[in-house]
Every structure is written in C-alpha cells, then in structure tokens.
Amino acid sequence: MKLLPLKSASTFSLFIVATALCAMLLAGCGSDQPKEQAEQAAPEAPAAPQKVTLKLAIDADPTSLDPHVQLSGGMLQLSHMVFDPLVRYDSKDMHFVPRLAERWERIDDLTMRFYLRKGVKFHSGNDFTAQDVAFTLERLKMSDDYKGLFEPFVAVNIVDDHTVDLVTAKPYGLALNMATYIFPLDKQFYTGIDDKGLEKDRIVKTDYSFANENESGTGPFAVTYREHGVRTVFTRFADYWDKNGNVDEIVLTPIKNDATRVAALLSGGVDFIMPVPPQDLDRIGNTQGLKLITMSGTRIITMQLNGERNPALKDPKVRLAMAYAYDNHGVVEKIMNNFATAAGQMSPDGYVGYNPELTPRFDMEKAQALMAESTFPDGFEATMIAPNNRYVNDAQIAEAFVSMMSRLNIKISLKTMPKAQYWDEFDAQVADIQMIGWHADTEDSGNFYEFLSMCRNAETGYGQYNSGSYCNPRVDELTLAAQTETDLDKRAAMLQEVEKIQYDEAGFIPLHWQNLSWASKDSMNTEEIVNVMDFPYFGDLIVE
C-alpha cells in the first residue's frame, strides 16, 4: 500500500524534471535576444546639483593604501585616484602631460629639472612642495618593488620650494617614463610615530603599517571608507587643483568572478566595470544604455621553448615550425573574441622596438615542411605549463596551442594551474614549454628583452623570466647598449634588430597582445579617461 504514493510521486518528479529542463532551455535561448535596458545612472534632473556617485566594480581590490607597497596594475589604478603623479601619459597617445610638474627641462645628460605646480594641497591640508618629491623618491628607493626602477637615479636636488632636479648616474633616456611613477606623498603626514609607536613611513607588505591604512595624497579623491576586499569609498577632494570631472563619490566593489561582474553591470548594480571578459563584449556592446570601450593593449603573451630541457626544442627548424604552426589570428578571433591583437614580436605598435615587418606567420604547410626537414620529422613529446587565472583565457589559449602543435605530431602534455602555484613552477623550469605574459613597466621595448630574452644570469638579474633559457649574445649586447643610448633613432634601430633576431630564430612564440576593456553606462565620457596603461583617470570622469 505504502509504495503507491511514492511511486506516483516519482512519476511526478519526472514530469517536473521535464518542465525544469524546458525552463532551463528557455532561459538559455532567451539570451539570444539581448533586449534589456540597463538602468539610467541619473534621472534627468538638470536643476538641482545632485551628488554624483559612481559605482565601480574591478576584478581585484588594491592591496593597500600605500602606493609603494607593491608595483601592480591595481595599485597604480589606486594611485591615480588618490595620489597624482608628476607627469602622466596622455589618455589618447603616449605623450607626457603635466600634472604636479607644470613643466620640465633637461639641464644636461644626467639631470632633469621639474617645475612643480604651486598652490597644490594634500588631503591632510598640507602644502605640496619640492620636499615632498624628495621624500617620495627616497621612499621609492626603499621599496622592494620600485627600487629596481629607480636605481638609475642617484640624487634629488631641491632648487627651491617648487623646483626639483632628478639626477642619474649615467645618461638615461627614460627619466620622464619614471616620473609617471612618482606620486608625491605628504612628507609631514608620513613622518613621525603613529599611535602604535611605529614609524609612519615604514613600507610593510604583510602587516599593519600607518601607510597601509591611511593616506594623504594630492589626488582627486580621498579615501573615506575602506573595508579591505569588500568596499572602498572615495570622496572628491574639495581642494583638488584640477576642476575637470564631476564625480563626487566613487564606491569601489571588487568582483572577482567575470560572469558576476558582467551581471552586476547588466542589472544596474554597478555603473562601471573593468575589465570586461572577452566573451561578454558582444552582449555589453549590444545592450542599450551601456558603453563599451576596448583598446589594443601592450601586454604580450608568449610561449617560451626550452631547448636545454628538451633536445627537440633546440633544433632551430623545430622552433620555426612551431612558430609557423601557431594560428595567432585564429586564436584571437575565436578564443579571444577579437579581444587581442595577434603578435609577431614582443613590442606592440607605438613602442620604439616595434618592427612593422614582423607579422604573425601562420602557415601550416610551411610548418609541416620545416618539421619534415628537421631532425624530428616524426614529431616528439613535450611537457607544458600555463596559468589558469592570470591572463585573459590563459588556459584555453594553452589548450589551443597544444592542439595546433599536435598537427606537427608534437604531443604536448599540458598542465594548467592557478597563479599561486604557477610562478614557482615557472621559475623552476619544470616544463619544456612555459607561458608568460609581460607588460613593460617602463613602457619601453628594452624592458621586454632585459627580462624575457637576455641570457639568464643570476648575478645581474637579466633574463630573470627567460624560462626557455634562450640565449643569443647579440641580443644581450644590443639590449645593454640601448640602455644608455640617448639618440632615439639609433636606439630604435638597435631594439628593432633584437626583435628581428628573435623572430628569425623563433626565440619564443609570440601569441598576442591582450586588449583592454572597460564598460560603463553610456552617460559618461568613459572613452576620454581610459588609456592603454589601464589606469583610468577617474578624476576627469564626467557623468551627465
């Protein structure tokens, strides 16, 4: 008797499943017609000056309020909101525009003079002077992350309250590039002892420090509330010297998950997201009331081939064959959803080392021919590692690479892992083929070669991320010579020669430059504040 109800209950369950499945399918199909409208940010209310709040979602929360604690994209984004640099890159092209330095001049080969803006105030109310610049540079040289970049600088000479000289030991062509990293800190504010009895200017990565939790910069926004990893509120600094932009408050919420971040924008939960995952570009682009901005980026993604570990990868023919077998455009189109620029070299267009002749060279027949001529005509086996949460679609790209190489009968066993574990394995060179992406923090080609293609040398630190152990003395020679060359044309020729050598030898396999993307409500001038370095200048944002 008692079996009966259960049985019929089960019949019903089958019916319910069917309904549920239909519902799921319908929900899925529904996405074919993106028709929804995102909420308007501000209702039409021209008269009353209303507080303009920007709800911003980023994939990661800046790790600290201390700009010198870590050199990373997130920290630089924060720095441009809360602090302000001496000079910065223009958001259209890569030229330098004055910020806290009103103008600058080269006094001699070693000295660069900056004339500072007058009447600028810190969030604490203190005045900004040359003292603060000197203090900041000193602190930069103490930071683990920045001291490498600022090594060429040997002295800061204060000429008067609003004039300062930066002196390098050797002629140095990138002094202005470095000035974009000088975000003056409030010397008075960061000097002394805090209420825990510790010095206020300590740079501490893992523990409490005054600077990690308090800030006084000259930037457009002051941090008024911060719950690390949950929410940060930036309030417009009333005394900010630059009156561009009308955002009074920014509420930053980190949303790590790509799909959730997109859902938040689509449902009107936030007004501005970055980055936009490539698979959702179309959807956001097609949604009314939203605006999507993409830009060709400068981060190169490459595969390094280790000939020391795997003899097959030492064969120049094999290396070339692999370079020919990789379909850069195919991956860019299909996996990256055109959200990348296929690359034939490391330097992106606009960098001095960019050599327009070196284009992606996918040609499967040529690849197979090269492979047949090589010492491994029947293919070989190799190991490969790639991260799965570091670069855009990194794991998928790695898989595509494996499947393309398999057409040359190269059997690759691939392991992808989170970045937390990846870099140790990368350094230990555990696999024959390893993936790495690189962004030149000096925005200069030389930086690529110094870290990725010069011969590995533990003492000088060159080739630190050259896990393929590629080594060509000519590349080393040219890269080093370019460091002190101040004639820009000569320098460009040197750097372009490096690219050519690497291309001809297939020193590595270039995949693409990752694009950058931002999406927001269309009532903002988003396109004017974003730039190729991915530091949106939120101070200039205007919301209608």
């Binding site: 008692k2 009966l4 109800p5 259960l6 019929s8 209950a9 089960s10 019949t11 019903f12 369950s13 089958l14 019916f15 319910i16 499943v17 549920a20 929900a27 529904g30 996405s31 929804e36 790790t63 600290s64 870590q70 050199l71 683990d144 992350d145 490498g148 501490v204 990565k205 893992t206 523990d207 409490y208 990690n212 690390h228 990893g229 949950v230 919420t253 949303i255 790590k256 998950n257 799909a259 959730t260 971040r261 859902a263 938040a264 689509l266 449902s267 009107g268 939960g269 949460n389 989170p418 970045k419 937390a420 574990q421 870099w423 350094d427 923090d441 870290f451 630190g461 630190q464 991320y465």
Partner: protein, 325 residues
C-alpha cells in the same frame, strides 16, 4: 560523569591538533605567498629575503610549534593580503556567513515542516506528489547550478534582484555587520539563501515526511485515533512532537555541512563571507589565512560536537563513552 566529560575534551584537543597539523601541511605545500605580494621586478634574492623575514624558510616543525604556541593564545597568524591578524579577518567575515546560514535555515524550517507534514498526512494528494517529485529533483541539482540559474533568471533577464554582494549593511554593537536591517540588505540575501537552502530543503522534507509517516503507524498514534481525538491534535501533539527529535539530531549534522556549502554559494554570489574569503585566500596563496580558517572552522565544529556529546551524556546516561548512534 566528570571522567566522561574529561575524556571527551581530551579527544577534542587531539582532534584539534590533527586538524592544525593537516592545515599546516597544506600551508607548507601551497606555493609561495611572497609571489602575490611583489611585482614582477623583484628579484629572487629579494623574495628570499622577504620569505626569511616572514619565517617561511624555517623547518616545518619549527614553524608548526611556533604556530601552536601562538594559537593557544588566540593568535592565528597574520593574513598577508589583509595585513591584519587572521583571527580578526575571520571574525569580521563571520557575520556575513552566519546570516546567510541563518536565512537559509529559516527557509528550510519554514518550508520543510509544513510541506513534510502535509505530504505525510495526505500522501495521495496531487500536491503531495508534487512536493515529493520536486524534492527529488531538488536534491539532484548541484548548488552552483541553482545559483547560476537564479542569477541568470532573476538578475539578468528579469532584473528583479541584485546579483552580487551584501548590499547596504548596518553595523551592530560595533562589530556585527548586518544586512538584515536594511531593505537593500534583505534583497541581496534572497537569492543566496534560496540557493544555499536548495540542497538541504528537499532532504529535510523527505526526512520529516518519512519520520512522520513512521510515527503515524506507531501504536500510540493508533491508540490516539482510537480514543477519538481530533486529527489536528493527533498530528501536532502526538505525531509531530515525536517526529521532531530525530529531525533535530540530523539537523545538527546538516548545519555543519551547510557551512561547507557556503563556500560554493558565496563564490557564485560574491558574498563577502568566510567561504569566499577562504577560496580567495587559496587563490592568493594567503596561506596563513587558509590555515587560520581551517583551524577556526575545525574548532567550532569540535566545540559544538563535544558540547552536544556532553549534554547528550548528561541527559541520557546510557550513552556515555560508548558513543552515540
């Protein structure tokens, strides 16, 4: 009795030691936390120096003993990412998770009791069959799939409910950050609670139903019917009361399991609680925080388990050390 309690407490201590050891072994193998703290320019030598400063180069046992020494005094180490004591981070995140678990439990209790009872006393009605059918479908859908579908339907397509985070929260007593007191906070709670309850609700409905049916078959309920009592009284006073005990016992265990499910739910909804904190600390190699979370959760479970055991032992002397069923 005292000996019994002591024995239980001793066991609890041993279990905690094992948990902390396992946790620490993970920490030791998990990759280098320094990686996530430095930029690409920092040389291996400088990284080694930072590791040295953090004491990460010491032998395993030295680090472990140091950790135990500090843990006894309530110091679970320092979170590298948050740059604060790990225990402080966990306590800040706890309200979010507890509120989520609370709301999900509320949904479970409010729905499973009436539905379970109804389907037990009226097993043949259409509605009962619907409940039972629905419940078996319910157990078969993984939590993360439920969560994804909820977001897709209610946030993206219909735009009714917020898809992420906790919304507006209010600080209570200076440390309990609650989302229960604002409309916005409550709206944010709806989908995560439903998703979290979706896996347990069917289990409870089925449990209540089968226990209730069993009780309804028992002699004393038959006797109650025979006495001519009103159905309402038989169901609620005689049957339901006796159904409750096993349900509560099982419910205790399930509560622990629910805390684990919060990891999944919080990940999908970007709910800023302990679960997503744990997954993020795994991704950032914030190993100290990982270990701290593990030890903290282990401690809570062991504490609850031990207390339940002792109380159980007090109430029911036949159980004692022999263990419970």
């Amino acid at each position: 009795m005292f000996a019994f309690a002591m024995k239980r407490i001793l066991q609890a201590v041993i279990v905690m030691l094992i948990i902390s050891l396992i946790g620490f072994a993970i920490k030791h193998n998990f990759g280098d936390p320094v990686r996530d703290l430095v930029g690409q320019r920092v040389t291996p030598a400088e990284r080694a120096e930072i590791r040295e400063k953090l004491g990460l180069n010491d032998p395993f046992m030295v680090q472990y003993v140091r950790f135990l020494g500090a843990a006894v005094q309530g110091d679970l180490g320092q979170s590298y990412f948050f740059k604060r004591p790990a225990s402080e981070v966990i306590i800040r995140k706890a309200p979010a998770t507890l509120e989520l678990v609370f709301c999900a439990s509320l949904i479970i209790v409010l729905l499973s009791v009436p539905l379970g009872i109804y389907s037990a006393i009226r097993p043949k009605t259409l509605f009962s069959r619907f409940i039972m059918g629905g419940s078996i479908v319910g157990v078969s859908i993984p939590v993360f799939l439920t969560a994804i579908l909820l977001i897709y339907i209610f946030s993206v397509e219909l735009n009714w409910l917020p898809s992420f985070g906790r919304g507006k929260t209010v600080m209570l007593f200076g440390w309990w950050d609650t989302g229960l007191l604002t409309v916005d906070g409550l709206l944010h709670l709806i989908m995560p609670s439903i998703a979290l309850s979706s896996i347990m609700l069917p289990l409870f409905i089925r449990l209540i139903r089968s226990e209730m049916m069993e009780v309804l078959e028992s002699e004393y309920v038959k006797y109650a019917w025979a006495k001519g009592l009103k159905p309402r009284r038989v169901w609620w006073v005689h049957a339901f009361k006796n159904t409750l005990l096993p349900v509560i016992t099982v419910g205790g265990v399930q509560l622990g399991i629910m805390v684990a499910f919060t990891i999944l739910t919080e990940t999908v909804f970007q709910w800023q609680g302990m679960g997503s904190m744990f997954i993020e600390s795994v991704e950032r190699s914030d190993t100290s925080l990982m270990v701290a979370y593990l030890v903290f959760v282990g401690f809570v479970f062991v504490l609850v388990n031990t207390m339940v055991d002792i109380i159980y032992g007090l109430v029911n002397p036949t159980v004692r050390v022999a263990g419970r069923k």
